[in-house]
């Protein structure tokens, strides 16, 4: 009773048994008389304590909330930074490609080399690789989907604690603004650089004059106009790259496309009105004439190019064709610029190119992951090439046509036309029958290459011969009469099995490596075909060889010693050794099965018996990245013509497609069965069409679309 009444008075539940001592009356009087009775104090203290506890827990919640926010922001910042680095690198690549194109153009037009600012290819972004440099990191890196999931989860948490979408959005805009600003600062530098390039290039001599009237209208726009001009060129360039890429997969570029093309079209009208206002009729015709001139030159350019080198340029030609109609607009870039900046939410007119991409992506970050998955091309097996009696060791695509040649351990090569198919029963894939069988080797064929024009094919064999074949017409009757002329010539010189071939179509050169320890450089169609021989006493036998694509007077060779050497093609002297000091040399299982050079970057990629793919910087000779890429020895590599994807084949029976940017595996396909301990022996990208192919020890070749 007592206890109960007391409890009611204070309104707080107390568990403690008080007033066990003394009688009821005493204690009652005490509590009325003096406020400071023991139980009262206790109750007060308890009450206060509970209040503090409550507050503390509230703070704790707040703290956790803030911490989550910090983590979220940090994560986002990191993500944005990666994105930015990635895009900046892409931009650099594109700029570099543009410069090369310009110098090519200039060379063709004036016959002299163009003096440009820095013709050095952009350096690989070391920082982005740093964390992945641990050589034995498993191949499963953070994929987009897990990143997205994590992000979703974080969002959910934040929502639970009342952190609404709007706040997130406000904050993300702030982050974006920050990023945008940073980028702008950076781009300003970039653009000064590119404007200089544009100025020095002297490509369009009338340009300066043409711009002057604009200067009156908009002070200080000469430099800007020039910058913009350069940008527009880059944009146009980019567009054709994306066009050819679209088939491959890229969605970000699609976004860019949408954003850019529309304003450009609108801008066309605007350009006209602006001109009228500025009374720039004369100018107008000037610009148009100039544009026409450029257009004509360009047309001439590919006509000649087409004649020179039909095959290799196929892809580029397409690109040019899409570029041409845009040129006239591009040359009068100021109005376009205004249109652009209106379209964008950031208003800085400078540094547009990089800003364009970065901002676009920042805006679409949330959707990006989803759209990326939706748009990503998945390769599916389409054709099975069955006709070889034994393992297929090598394959090569025709530069322009849907035609490929395979070389096999059954001593023959076969020519296949993917457009001549036999529908196979019950399976979705199509069977193709070979059109022609090249017979002359009397030992297994190990490697082959097709010339840049697609007219010749080169094959190397265990019999140490390199045969040069005329590639028959892709519509030849498979049971036509024997034509001895198909075998054009034989390159004699190696004294043991020829294991590697590589073609440099611009110079019509052929590179071969053999188990006799030598690498030979040939000019297959000249009277004295052998140009040079390369050896390395300390390294022994070469296993694979390639031209350095972005620096074609150099070649790179992989040796048994599991080192690679870059040679100067003319002096035959070693220039750089690609070796990583910390790893033990001469480990037999580290041997390199295949070496390829990146088409645009100073980057060499090697496939190793120890399941790794390693990436090397051609200038420093340092390893920039290493990854376990397969479950068994990696045997073959191919880089797509745009230099964005890497294809690898392995004795684990699978081929894998890798994104070269982030070195993540995009797709894995189990393609071939094992014979003894070998499975996939070669992989290839079609140089201009969306085909990939794999060759297997099971005697099959497969083509994926």
């Amino acid at each position: 009773m007592e206890d109960n009444s007391l409890n009611h008075q204070n309104g707080v539940q107390v568990v403690k048994q008080v007033s066990a001592v003394g009688n009821n009356k005493e204690s009652d009087e005490g509590s009325v008389k003096a406020q400071y009775s023991i139980p009262g104090i206790l109750h007060f203290i308890q009450h206060e304590w509970a209040r503090f506890e409550l507050e503390r827990s509230q703070w704790e919640v707040d703290r956790a909330e803030l911490q989550a926010r910090i983590a979220f922001l940090q994560g986002e910042r990191k993500g944005q930074e990666n994105l930015k680095n990635d895009l900046v690198r892409r931009i650099k690549m594109l700029e570099y490609a543009l410069k090369q194109e310009r110098s090519k153009f200039h060379k063709l037009k004036y016959g002299t080399d163009l003096q440009q600012g820095d013709m050095n290819p952009p350096a690989m972004d070391e920082t982005s690789n740093e964390n992945q440099l641990d050589s034995d990191q498993p191949y499963i890196s953070v994929s987009n989907s897990t990143w997205k999931q994590g992000r979703q989860l974080l969002r959910q948490y934040l929502q639970e604690i009342g952190y609404t979408d709007r706040i997130i959005d406000v904050r993300s805009t702030r982050v974006r603004a920050l990023l945008g600003l940073n980028n702008n600062a950076e781009q300003e530098e970039n653009h000064n650089g590119s404007s200089l390039n544009g100025g020095e290039s002297n490509k369009r001599p009338s340009e300066g004059q043409g711009r002057k009237p604009f200067k009156k209208e908009r002070p200080g726009s000469l430099a800007e106009a020039m910058m913009l001009e350069a940008e527009q060129a880059v944009m146009a360039n980019m567009e054709f790259l994306t066009n050819s890429e679209m088939e491959m997969d890229d969605d970000e570029d699609d976004i860019i496309n949408d954003k850019d093309v529309e304003p450009m079209e609108d801008a066309d009208d605007d350009v006209k009105t602006t001109r009228k206002k500025a009374k720039g009729d004369r100018l107008c015709s000037d610009v148009d004439a100039e544009a026409m001139e450029v257009l004509n030159e360009l047309t001439l350019l590919f006509e000649s190019e087409e004649r020179n080198d039909k095959g290799e340029q196929g892809d580029w030609n397409q690109g040019y064709q899409t570029t041409i109609p845009k040129r006239p607009i591009a040359t009068s870039g100021v109005a376009v610029n205004e249109e652009f900046t209106e379209g964008m939410d950031t208003t800085l007119g400078l540094g547009e190119l990089a800003q364009l991409t970065v901002n676009n992506d920042a805006e679409n970050t949330y959707d990006m992951a989803t759209s990326k998955e939706a748009f990503r091309k998945t390769w599916n097996a389409k054709y099975t090439l069955r006709s070889h009696f034994d393992g297929v060791r090598a394959l090569a695509f025709h530069p322009t046509e849907p035609v490929l040649i395979t070389g096999s351990e059954d001593h023959t090569l076969k020519l296949w036309n993917l457009q001549k198919t036999v529908p196979a029963k019950k399976s979705a894939s199509l069977d193709v029958e070979p059109l022609y069988t090249f017979r002359c080797h009397n030992k297994p064929v190990l490697c082959l290459a097709i010339s840049g024009s697609g007219d010749y094919c080169y094959s190397g064999s265990v019999d140490s011969a390199i045969h040069v074949w005329n590639v028959p017409n892709s519509n030849i009757d498979p049971y036509d009469q024997f034509d001895p002329e198909i075998l054009y010539t034989t390159l004699q010189g190696h004294t043991n099995a020829v294991w590697g071939l590589s073609v440099l179509s611009s110079k019509q050169q052929l590179l071969s490596c053999s188990a006799d320890g030598t690498i030979k450089l040939w000019m297959p169609h000249s009277e004295v075909p052998l140009l040079n021989t390369f050896t390395s006493e300390q390294d022994g036998v070469p296993s694979s060889v390639d031209f350095i694509r972005d620096h074609p007077v150099q070649i790179v060779a992989a040796y048994n010693s599991s080192h690679s050497i870059i040679f100067d093609a003319e002096t035959a002297k070693p220039v750089v050794r690609l070796e990583s000091g910390q790893e033990q040399a001469n480990a037999p299982n580290k041997m390199i099965n295949k070496i390829v050079s990146h088409p645009t970057l100073p980057l060499t990629i090697t496939a190793h018996e120890d399941r790794h793919i390693r990436f090397w910087d051609n200038v420093s000779g340092q390893m920039v990245h290493s990854m376990v890429a397969h479950l068994d020895a990696v045997t073959s590599l191919a880089v797509d013509p745009n230099g964005l994807y890497l294809l690898s084949g392995s004795h684990d029976c699978s081929i894998r497609l890798w994104h070269l940017d982030n070195k993540t595996c995009v797709q894995e396909i189990t393609a071939h069965r094992k014979k003894f301990d070998e499975s996939i022996l070669d992989v290839a990208f079609h140089p201009s069409k969306p085909y990939i192919a794999s060759a297997g020890a099971d005697g099959l070749a497969k083509v994926f679309v």
Binding site: F389, H411, P434, V541, K674
Partner: protein
């Protein structure tokens, strides 16, 4: 066909790695047929035996007990067609349409090339190439030979006609390009092996086997 899994974790990897010398190509320790777990075990086994000693025909043609005979015959025929490429490239050097404008062996028959819609009188070298190409297509056909581990009875029946056709390459070489034939035969014993193979599995009638085989008195008497 049954396959036995290897119990121990053998570390020998039978691979021709890039840079392997010609003399070391496929030179690895033998693997017992029972231990091969690949779907291409029969081919592996046949090639291994041939590499070891091409003259030991009895051993090469000795079928593992557990194996389906159709598969065994099929894989052997694939191997024959593949090795016949060696004879074809030698013939390409010498056998010209001007000299051998018909596929003949003895004067008794002119063989028509079956690779065309209507059989055609191809020159010998064309007949040789077309026959080998046709055999490659048939033996790799998804329709008749979708699998290399089990073969339909109706498809096994196709093997006989392939044998008859490719045998004509031997007979043409023997009767018209004897030096080439002899060189090739000494190196590979292919005709001898082929003759024993078709005889053992009854794929061709004895009357059609017109190339005399060294050391086989039964057929060898017609030629000096």
């Amino acid at each position: 066909m049954s396959k036995m899994k290897m119990a121990d974790g053998a570390t020998i990897l039978r691979r021709n790695r890039p840079g392997t010398k010609a003399e070391d190509f496929c030179r690895w320790p033998d693997e017992a047929y029972e231990e091969m777990d690949s779907t291409l075990a029969v081919q592996q086994c046949i090639q291994q035996l041939i590499r070891k000693d091409p003259t030991n025909i009895d051993l090469i043609l000795k079928m593992p007990e557990t194996l389906d005979e159709g598969v065994w015959k099929y894989e052997h025929l694939r191997q024959f067609c593949m090795e016949l490429n060696g004879l074809a490239i030698r013939l390409q050097e010498e056998c010209r349409p001007e000299t051998c404008n018909q596929m003949t062996a003895t004067e008794q028959w002119i063989f028509l090339c079956a690779a065309h819609k209507t059989p055609k009188e191809c020159a010998a070298i064309d007949y040789t190439r077309h026959t080998l190409d046709g055999a490659a297509c048939l033996l790799n056909s998804n329709k008749y030979f979708p699998s290399r581990v089990s073969i339909k009875e109706s498809s096994v029946a196709k093997l006989g006609s392939v044998c008859r056709r490719v045998y004509r390459i031997f007979s043409h070489a023997y009767y018209h390009h004897r030096t080439i034939f002899d060189e090739f035969e000494i190196e590979t014993c292919l005709c001898k092996r082929f003759t024993q193979f078709v005889t053992k599995y009854n794929l061709m009638s004895k009357d059609n086997l017109i190339v005399p085989i060294l050391g086989e008195a039964t057929i060898g008497e017609s030629e000096a």
